[in-house]
Amino acid sequence: MLRIRNLDAGYGTLTVLRRVSIHVKPGEIVTIIGANGAGKTTLLKTVTGLLRAQAGEILFNGQDIGRMPIERIVMNGCSLVPEGRQVFPAMPVRENLLLGAYVQFKRGNKHDVEKDLDHAYTLFPVLRQREHQLAGTLSGGEQQMLAMARALMARPKLIMLDEPSMGLAPLMVKEIFNIIVRIREQGNTVLLVEQNARSALKIANRGYVLETGRIILEGDSEDLLANRDVQRAYLGREQEGN
């Protein structure tokens, strides 16, 4: 579904990512783990077109999206849930969600939007309760749910999540990750960027370890969990056994 080859990306003359190659197959949850500043967000920004690649190739369903305008990338089915949620605080929950359906209107599918809203409320019942509340009054976890629901309103094929667990209480983190699994079960493909490596690897099929802009390890999640370098650097303790 997504295939990135030798991507160099960064800001101005600064190169953050160096020849990054990754792929995501339909129906997978793939996670990119790495420390703060490793280049995880830069990677997602480049895929969504918020940043332009300095070199390399980004193929989405066989189509080169490296030079495509952002709205066409979203239109093609690639949605981002940005770091820090980025909801519109002064707008009610419902309107935030309708903004996410913008491409559905453009596609001429506006009749589906009510159905999609209902679907979003089923996945996130708390949002239905808060339908008319301003987004700014929601808790961090609820705002994260809103950001995810808003991305789903565009009916994406690939949903990319940037640090969804950031700043959330452990119980809420668990719930968010459960929802990510449910999103996949409903036929979506997920690219998940996380500092919370353990939780991310537990739900992902495969993972990549990004270190100072380079992929230094890739593999099945269970193998990465068993890798001692990963354990030392990202899981916070050395595990025996497995």
């Binding site: 020849r19 380079r214 992929i215 593999g219 193998d223």
Partner: protein, 432 residues
Amino acid sequence: MYWQPESECMDREELEQLQLERLESTLSRVYMNVPFYRKRFDEVKFNPDDLRSLDDLKKLPFTTKNDLRDNYPYGLFAVPLRDVVRVHASSGTTGMATVVGYSRNDIKTWSNLVARILTAGGITKDDVIQISFNYGLFTGAFGLHYGAERVGASVIPISSGNTKRQIQIMQDFKTTALVGTPSYAMLIADTMMEMGINRNSLSLKYGLFGAEPWSEAMRKELENKLKIVATDNYGLSEVMGPGVAGECMERHGLHIAEDHFLVELINPQTLEPVEPGEAGELVITTLTKEAFPVIRYRTRDLTRLIPEPCACGRTMRRMARVFGRTDDMLIIRGVNVFPQQIETVLFEIEGVAPHYQIVIDRKGALDETTVNVEVSESIFFDEMKKQSELKETIKKRLAGELGISVEVKLVEKKTLERFEGKAKRVIDNRKF
């Protein structure tokens, strides 16, 4: 039957992406963690960040057995020793041993890759598998052992040697699959005949042989004598051990685990890549090894790649059976000769037992080669005329195959040394 169909039958384009990803992360890791590789890369001014395609691998220097020896024992490990759960070593018959290490994940990968070749060779969880490789520092026995357990077969870790007991156990434990070197399998088969054991009293169905080059003719002989389906598998400890490549039921070339190993074929003299389809020395780069990755390792094994898709459905390319090693290659009177060529000729001749020995001497400035061949008793005690006829036939056929003339000596059955591990059939008395 496949063990990991999603990998073994992977779309080639998808495979290439995976290989690139894995090559890039392997290069980043060895550059970071192994001073030897960092120095080597720096010497040719290669920055791993500059690799943009699988083809760029050609910019890197080769790694040789000598590099492994120079870094004895742990110099090329890419992880700290505390992350290593197993150490193996090669025999070091021609010098210092070479040492390799495995992380927990490496052992898991190894098990799965051997499970692939076992499955391809007919093994299922219902099989009783007798592992007649020598258990120890050598990787053969443990590799096959792990793979067989992974598949769920019942493993008999009998090791090599004590041939009569091997046969006893084969009968009593109802062994269905034999694993070992082809030369040892031949010894087992011959011993069985001498003991007067009826092949039909055995449950044997499959033979998975490797660790030394053998010929197609020897396969036929083993299949007939033991009434088995015999497959060839390939590996070397420096790269992982068995599991690098193995035959499927088509028995026409060994599928390489290309999702874990990147292979190249080079001309061993010029070190340039050979033309597609041409024979050359196999060079392997590991793509997933954690503890002991190798970059462009020269295996010394000579083979050919078979690019055509295989009828079995696997998309992994095949290599032809290894027909020799660059260090087994004998240069006799300036002509390159491989022991396997001689074996192939001998197997085709009626009345010749599959045991032979090649002795090379230098008389003055000339090489003199003698092939000692065991012949059946009837011929040995037969009239002189028949004997010399057979001798002439062998000489003529060998001269035709090799392009040089060799002496042939017929010897009585069971006079040549037998081998329980890798066979050693060449005695080179020349001093250079």
